[in-house]
Symmetry: C2
Subunit: 152 residues, 2 copies
DNA sequence: CCATCATGTAACATACAAAGTTACATGAAA
DNA sequence: TTTCATGTAACTTTGTATGTTACATGATGG
């Protein structure tokens, strides 16, 4: 399956933003992620609705963090994306008449549900602040790849 | 994400086959699953290679179970399909130079790995024989939708 | 031997979602 | 009023599962 990388992408953006004061334009963020500004706006839209970030138009505009990073978990971010399906596999038919299919679904659903629950739980344990702390550990004294260079 | 239903499909086929003696042609099985014979052959190919089923050409040919159903788990069947990816989400970049991305990947990988491991473990706990037993419980005294009707 | 049946497989078509792109409207700042 | 930046619709591209067609291979029955 082609894998959905929106969560990975949006976390990357948020973590970048947490490293220096904003605001950041979609174009700046897009360059850092090697993608398109519209893609950035797309994945950030849900976060804006939930109040995790703000966006301003015009000169000096762009995206700004608007939440307590120690209060927002990866699960919250996932939810802000619209809770896309976590598993690549699913049942052939969701509400089958065939008893064979029902038996198969029951067995798979059990396993699928457990795995999804664990994943969500794990995502709920990690806050953006924790991610930031981990990043700073990795950075040591070095600077991250400097986005201000892009901001001419 | 569009979900991969091959595991669900192949289990359906195997369970059908376990209910009555074979052999079953790809066309018969395809009709029961409301799909195409070639699709059946495709998902059964891996099982044949691992010896879980056999196939014969010509008159009276078709697919036959060739394993001890109490020894084969859903995980084995999954592996026979080529172990397609279980999760619908993944990292944007697998081996990034950017430290921000590395921090994000590390956090997500942890959660992803745990969920995959749990799912595989759960699948490993269920044998085809157990699925069959559950099916017979659901059947009660009724017959499953009768494939022999299709076999003229 | 040959017609029929069934698998094996390549090749192509279809469906669908994420990701990328283009275009333009909206609104804010200089 | 020009410039910048977001907001969003519409379209293109890409990747994968799924569906389909076509034909080769081999087994069975006459």
């Amino acid at each position: 399956m082609k894998r959905d990388s929106r969560l990975s992408g949006v976390l990357h953006v948020l973590l970048h933003m947490a490293q220096q004061p904003g605001p950041f334009t979609s174009e700046t963020l897009a360059k850092a992620m090697d993608t398109n500004p519209v893609v950035i706006r797309r994945i950030m839209a849900g976060l804006r609705e939930l109040g995790y970030v703000r966006s301003e138009k015009g000169h000096g505009g762009g995206w700004t963090l608007a939440c307590d990073l120690s209060k927002v978990t990866l699960r919250d971010v996932y939810a802000a994306l619209g809770s896309p399906s976590l598993l690549a596999m699913g049942n052939r038919t969701e509400a089958p008449g065939c008893l064979v299919e029902q038996a198969v679904n029951a067995a798979l659903d059990q396993a699928f549900h457990d795995a999804e629950a664990l994943l969500l739980s794990r995502l709920g344990e990690v806050t953006l602040a924790m991610l930031g702390a981990d990043l700073r550990k990795r950075l040591g004294s070095r600077k991250i790849h400097d986005m201000s260079a892009h901001r001419a």
